[in-house]
Symmetry: C2
Subunit: 337 residues, 2 copies
């Protein structure tokens, strides 16, 4: 058994590159009293991790140079030295980018492999799915009949956002970065409208045409020019849930794209724009696992994954996800169950 | 008796100029059945009026070319033909930029001349004061001990915002556009810190030094570069009440200043940013008249006005207010009581 890890070698100053990461061989960890040995089966790569690569104050501490990266994992309990889960149990939580790790189990949750494939707990039933649900229900107060727009709509969060909207009886539109993704949104996920923001020559018109009755709720995943176009189409009393803003994770202040020039429109239209952190809504997160698993069983929630193979490919999977090369939720498979 | 009016002659395309307005002699209006004749004593000039000079959809319809402008007035009932207030009563509401007008009284409220000078009902006890109270209590949920920052702090709204904060036990800081205003904030209104944003060579540092414990509530009156500097100092779970954004009223989209580049910080800090319209909070508006008049009596609320004389000077008073030449709430006096 080898225990490979991915360490942060240096902090990216803009877009992350392969040089920012190192693959290292580590010793096999031994669980102390009250601990368990976990074998990681799946790793999650997510946009928020880019923020932790900067050395700035945020709601989670930055990654440390020379230390393994951390992220969502699904793991199997290999052995327990009095830990909180029995040998053979499946768990999810924040773990290391490593084949093996030890933990006392704090912050880990058991997962049910009969309810959905294990990797789903990193996506549709995990943090991205919970993010969609919390943003719509806890932040943007989505109601039946609302006009919902979501950017990065084919991504891990976006595809769930749109389907929740359809299941709640909303008009749903979205934007994505290539034509295959746009077709997927319309043909597979039932979006009422979708467009390719990269080939649109007028984002203001594209947003307006995709949302003929204006926008009551915008689920913001991207940042940059789409936000400005969306603001122009926001309805009175509309709500904007600020989630990823992927476009800005890589930028230093001077390199950041200008913010929306038309922010003053929020005043007259009484718009609420709110950033949120999914972990501050534990009750809604728990609720989502029940709601989401139910919809999956009923065929009312589709899900697409992009699965990279082997821990050595985790950095590239992260880099590709940041630039939109993945299609659906990006995970990395480290071992067969 | 003559009835002079100020008409909108043309729509400003950027900053308004005297050419956009005309002074006209109108016929003396006669109250029909159920109507009253009002004599205007004071007119209010306010930043939101600039928005109504554009021909765009908003929460109130645009002013019409060739028609009198409209705004807040305090007036005396000259005669009543069965209207809702008796002859000799004082009322406030949305009226015409004219010496005289008729109305059935809808939308007008009686005011008490013994509680405060009549012009106060256009300022500290009127829409600007209510805007301060609604923004802090209804939108930003200001609490004792919060760190409050307000831009355009010596203006009609800003000076009330800061004093409400002090009366509620908050740390209060503000920005203004000249040194005399800054001194007024610190020496007269009891602000804990204030700075001149026009002479500051680093807004980020100025905001940070004025708010050593960060910002829990930002009352946004200006738009433009201060917002970006404020975002950098916002605390976790902070709230931004979006009010005037004066800097953007005069701009077309291409001329608008870039929005804040660091909007993505709102995500990790769970910031709520909300635009609002004071008239959607009638209960808080009513509450403010009681609270504000009480504080004025107790000497806990100071108020500064800038009074122009005569309807012919109303356009210039508006133009000066938009460029920050006034000191305190700008009103126009049309007649002695």
């Amino acid at each position: 058994m080898t225990n490979k890890q991915i360490l942060l070698k240096s902090r990216p100053s803009g877009w992350p590159t392969a040089d920012n990461f190192t693959l290292a061989d580590a010793a096999m960890p031994k669980p102390g009293p009250g601990e368990m040995l976990l074998q990681t089966l799946y790793l999650s790569v997510d946009p928020y991790m880019r923020g932790r690569m900067n050395d700035v104050k945020s709601y989670v501490p930055p990654f440390q140079i020379g230390e393994p990266l951390q992220g969502g994992i699904v793991a199997k309990v290999v052995s327990s030295n009095g830990g909180s889960f029995p040998q053979g149990a499946y768990v999810t939580g924040m773990g290391l980018w490593a084949n093996y790790m030890t933990t006392d189990g704090k912050g880990f949750q058991p997962v049910d492999p009969t309810l959905a494939p294990l990797s789903y707990y990193l996506g549709i039933l995990g943090m991205p799915g919970m993010t969609a649900y919390v943003g719509l229900k806890g932040v943007a107060d989505l109601k039946e009949g609302d006009n919902l727009f979501v950017s990065a709509a084919s991504g891990a969060v976006g595809q769930v956002v749109g389907q929740i909207g359809k299941n709640m009886g909303c008009h749903v539109a979205g934007s994505a970065g290539d034509d295959a993704k746009v077709a997927y949104l319309k043909d597979e996920l039932g979006f009422d409208a979708a467009f390719n923001y990269k080939t649109s020559d007028n984002l203001f018109r594209a947003v307006k045409e995709a949302n003929p009755n204006g926008i009551d709720v915008y689920f913001e995943n991207v940042g940059g020019p789409i936000l400005e176009a969306v603001i122009a189409s926001l309805n009175f009393n509309s709500r904007v849930a600020l989630c990823g803003m992927i476009a800005n994770y890589n930028a230093t202040l001077d390199d950041m794209p200008p913010g929306p020039r038309n922010l003053a429109l929020l005043v007259g239209r009484s718009v609420k724009m709110q950033g949120f952190i999914v972990s501050n809504y534990p009750d809604l997160c728990k609720e989502w696992i029940g709601v989401g698993a139910g919809w999956i069983k009923e065929g009312k929630l589709k899900y697409r994954e992009s699965v990279a193979d082997g821990i050595e490919n985790a950095p590239q999977a992260f880099i590709d996800m940041m630039s939109g090369k993945n299609f659906g939720k990006q995970v990395v498979k480290l071992a067969d169950d």
